[in-house]
Structure formats: structure tokens, C-alpha cells
Symmetry: C2
Subunit: 339 residues, 2 copies
Amino acid sequence: MITLKKLAKELKVSISTVSKALRDSPEISVETIEKVKYLANKYNYRPNKIALSLKSNRTLTIGVIIPDILNRFYSKVLNGIHDSADQFGYDVITINTKESMLKEVDSLQIFSSGTVDGVIIAMSEETLNKNDYSHLKEFIMKETPIVMFDRVTDKINCDKVIIDDFDAIYNEVKSLKDLGRKKIGFISTINELNVGKYRANGFRKASFDFFGKFDENLILRISKNRDKHIEIEKFLKKNKPDAIISADIVCGVISINIAKNLNIEVPKELSVVGFGDKTISEYSSPKLTTIYQHGTEIGNRSVELLVDRMNSKWFGLNKNLNSYTTDIIPTLTIGGESK
Amino acid sequence: MITLKKLAKELKVSISTVSKALRDSPEISVETIEKVKYLANKYNYRPNKIALSLKSNRTLTIGVIIPDILNRFYSKVLNGIHDSADQFGYDVITINTKESMLKEVDSLQIFSSGTVDGVIIAMSEETLNKNDYSHLKEFIMKETPIVMFDRVTDKINCDKVIIDDFDAIYNEVKSLKDLGRKKIGFISTINELNVGKYRANGFRKASFDFFGKFDENLILRISKNRDKHIEIEKFLKKNKPDAIISADIVCGVISINIAKNLNIEVPKELSVVGFGDKTISEYSSPKLTTIYQHGTEIGNRSVELLVDRMNSKWFGLNKNLNSYTTDIIPTLTIGGESK
DNA sequence: CTGTTAGCGCGTTCAG
DNA sequence: CTGAACGCGCTAACAG
């Protein structure tokens, strides 16, 4: 590693002279500046980021804690985070908790030892289930800004970015009713999560509001170890719905395929809509109509909120330090031919 | 941030006493140790990682440069990298080049300023096309260990991890022939990339070896802006193959769906096999048989190679410093019912 | 114009 | 048993 010290030694000047020269200080003579810059360029000198961090107490790095890096939705959020962070000049260091609370606690420990300037987090399933947020409270006391997204809780006071899950499905039911659908089914594989519950609640409420009744049989909950193909086939045969809303995209696509196997015409006899993203909707034919979750936008927005906080911390651009934002990103039904 | 200094001040002892006490130094009296530890614990003291890094010249962080974070294959590799890095006690900082060479050059700049102990990289499409690896050569001269995976080049001398693309498809053609297939088609959307070319070459060679001839019409190259559904439908109608190998998973799944629309029975009249991963293969019915690319394993292996290098650098565990490994991860055809 | 000094947080001498 | 001094690489305040 090439340092100021080495340059100074070779040029036979002091370290600070080199430092100043490289920053075009008016204190330094033009000739010295040229000499210094020439050598620095020759050796491709870069100031050591670690030393800079130590001095400035800023790392220009954002820490991201994600429950499942393989999940398509989180990938998209991560993508959005990367894009925005890049724009603001921040690096991104990611930790994949794999839904483990222990890992989440550890991650926050790591991040609170000066490695990052701020944290973006979606909590693990385990944390949500145990309903224990002490590690987050502790972390917040250490005054590193934090933004939560998707998997959030009211118990913690900080900026948040979420999807309006309840509304999304509520409106979807309405829209399907307007299309003339009378028996709408709901398929979910994420029953235990809050988002899953919000969606189920939205479905229930909409059923009452638009059809005056709610039939529990029209919700199909598939647990993790069951075969989705089989469960969905049984569900279609038994209930004969004329519309399906799937809380995740996989089941949406599978529903279309199963329907075709059963000679049910999509979308003529059966509308299918699923939460998810456009890319995957291509996998079925007709392509699945999707309720777009704006993963990328959620990532973007999280970074913006975080950068705001960090700036107000460093530069005292006085955002009200005791008031926090909760951004609700609306969903959007798009594309496909299955509705 | 709570530091040794603050603890020392509050305890009215010197900084070094605190430091020693926390590491159970025999130089310090039991009582002092207890007092120190109590307070450290109370304030949840963690040594500042940045300061540690500056001193030790090690960051315990790995830098990862990826061409497309949304690509399923790279997600999986990233997942493998995270798992292994975690095991070895390294953090992971990722940069998404989005196939841009400029971004790749910048990333290496960032990483060579002391931020990371080693780098894992898959090059951008642009870099490969321009065939210009000067930035990598420069980086390597700075003696930070680097491992390349998937998108590699012979021009650079370092450890590498790749898939045996040629063999994978070669063997697949053989296997399909053994199943009695006589007219095998190949669909590719990644023609311009090396991996795409290797696969096409493997297909060509296998056609000659097993069928004594090769018909260029049996390769369907779909460029980025074309509609895959339409292209594949035309291809199936025109060539009437009895087997399809898809160089990416999307076209594999789509092929199955199109075939069903055309009343071609899968796998009875048409075998379909695609490069990809199990999760996505679920999207079709029957499920797609996939040539598994071992993304996670590639990530794992890359980290192992990198850690090896870093250890040999730090601790002089003398690996031969001038000999580099190229790990070829075999593919594996698994699952599905479409073959 | 250039050099010296101090300090960011830490661990490790070395001196008391 | 404890503390002062040093150095990692850098910038900034202060001296010359």
C-alpha cells in the first residue's frame, strides 16, 4: 500500500506537504504540487479509507440486514439500496440473517462498532415471532441512524418504509368484483408473517365489504413443507373459484399452470393475480398479472431516509430529531394477461 | 460511541489499563479487571473496528463485484459467499456493476484503498466485450488477493472458479440421445457472453459426435429486445424438435408452457432441460428439469480460495505464490418431470 | 511556502 | 501492578 509517508520520503518533503499538495492547497508552491502529483499518479496513490474514517468518524458505508437474500423481493430492495447508496457515495455492506434472530443481534453488534454510518433492516421472522426488540432498542440508543422496511414494528421508534399490504389486496378484490368475479380465492404461503396477516385481513375485510360475507374455505394456506402443486389443484377442484389472488408470486404462476391442466381457461373462466414482480410473471402463459411491490423503490426510499438522518446527525441540518417518518409505498397492479 | 478513553476517564485509570483489563492481562489486578469489565459491560463497549483495522492493516472484510445483483445465478453465488465469509469471520461489501466496465474500474479503485482484504469478482459484459483487463492487472499489482468466478479470462493470473459449461451441455445432449431423442434444439439468450459461447460450442460438438451432423437452425438465439414467447413458439412450430436445451432457465420454463399451448405433450413428445436452479423450475407444470449450476457452491469455493490467499499473505502459510488454482465446478442435472 | 505537532481509537512496548 | 509513549495513515492547527 502506497502512503503519504512513502511519497514524502521519496520526495524528501514532509508528510503534510504531500497531503496539502494533493489537495491543491494555496500554501504549496506550484512546482512542489506538480512533483507530488506526478509521483502520486505514478504510484496510483489513493488515500487510505480506513485512516480517513478513523479521523472523520464517518465510514461512508451503509449496513443492510436482510432476512433472506435469495428472496426475490429482498433482492429487488437490495438492488434499490445499492443504486441509491451509490448515488449518495455510500458503500453497502450486507448481512443475511436467514431469518435468525441471533444472527440479527450479532449483525447489529458488528454494525455498532463503528463499521457503518447507518443501518437499513428488515427483521427476521424469528424476531417478529418472539416479539422481542431489545437488541434494536439498544442499537438505537447508540445513536446510529436506522431505517426499517417491510418487516417493521410499532415498538421501535425510527423511520420506516412499508408496503400497504392491506390496501393492496383490498383494492384488488374490489377490482376483480368490478370485472364480474363472484367467488374469489386467496392463496398464501406466508401465513405466519405480519405481511401475510395484513394481506389475509385485507382479503377478509374486502369480502365482507363487497360480497357481504366471508368464507374461510376460500383462503388456502400452504405450509412450507407441502407440495404447492397438489394443494392448489385440490383447492381449485374443490372450491371452483372464478378468481385467485396469490400472496406470493410462485403460487400465482402455478395456479395458472394447474388451471390449464384442468382445462380451465385463464382468464376467461379464472382470473389470476399475484403479488410479485414482472420478471417472474413471464414464467407462465398467459403471463401472470402481478401486484407489483416496488421493491426497488422501497430500497431507494430507505436510503434516502437514512441519508437524511445521517446528514442531520453530521451536519445538524435540523430535521426534527424526535419525529419519524413511515413511508407507505402503494402497490400497483400491472401487466400480464391472466386477469 | 463508547471508547477506551471514556471508560478510563470514568474509572480514573489510564487507557492502557482499561485495554489490558479487558483482555484479562495478568499485569492487572483482579479488582481493577472486575471494575473495568463491569463498566464496559454496562456501556456495552465494543472496540472500534476502524481503529483496529488501521492498526492491524486488516479489515476482515471481503469485497464482491457482481455484474447483476438481480440475476438469480449471481444471487445464489452471493448467498454462498455470505455463508462462507460469515464462517470465516469476514464481512461482505458488495458492488453491483450492472454490466458497466466503468463501474467495475471504480469498484476496484475503492477496494484498493484499504477497504477490503480481498476481492471476489465476476466481470461485466462490457469488460469481456472490450477485452480490456488493464484495471484488473493494476489491481493485482497492488497485491490484494483476488478471485474471479463465472466471468473469467485467461489474460489474468489469479484463482478462478467456473462452471464447466461446455461439458455440461455436451453431456446433456448425450443423455437426451440415450433417451431416444433425435432432434435436439438449443435456445440461448446469452449469445454474446463467453458462457453462452461455451454452451453453444458444447452443443455443436455434441451434435457432431452423437448425431454425425449439426444443423445451425436448431440453435435459437434470442436477442434481448425480442419477445421470448413469440420466438420460441415460431421455433417449435418450424423445427419440431423432440428435445430442447435452454441456456437459461426462463426460456426453459416458457418452452414447456408454449408446448402445452401447442398441444405438444411434455415430456412424452418433447423433453425440456434448462440451465438454472430448482426454485424457479417449480414455475412450470410439469416442473422443468434443470442443469443445476451450483451457484451457492461457487460462492463458497471462491471465499475459500480467497481466504487461503489472504492467510498466506498475512501469515505466510506459504502457498505457492505464483501458482493459481482454477476450480471447475461440475453441473448436475436434477429434478423436474420434463425430460 | 514548508515543517512540526496533535489527535482520531486501539494495542503493545517500555518504564516506573 | 499501572501509566506514558508510540505508531497505524491521515488532516488540520499552528510555527517557522
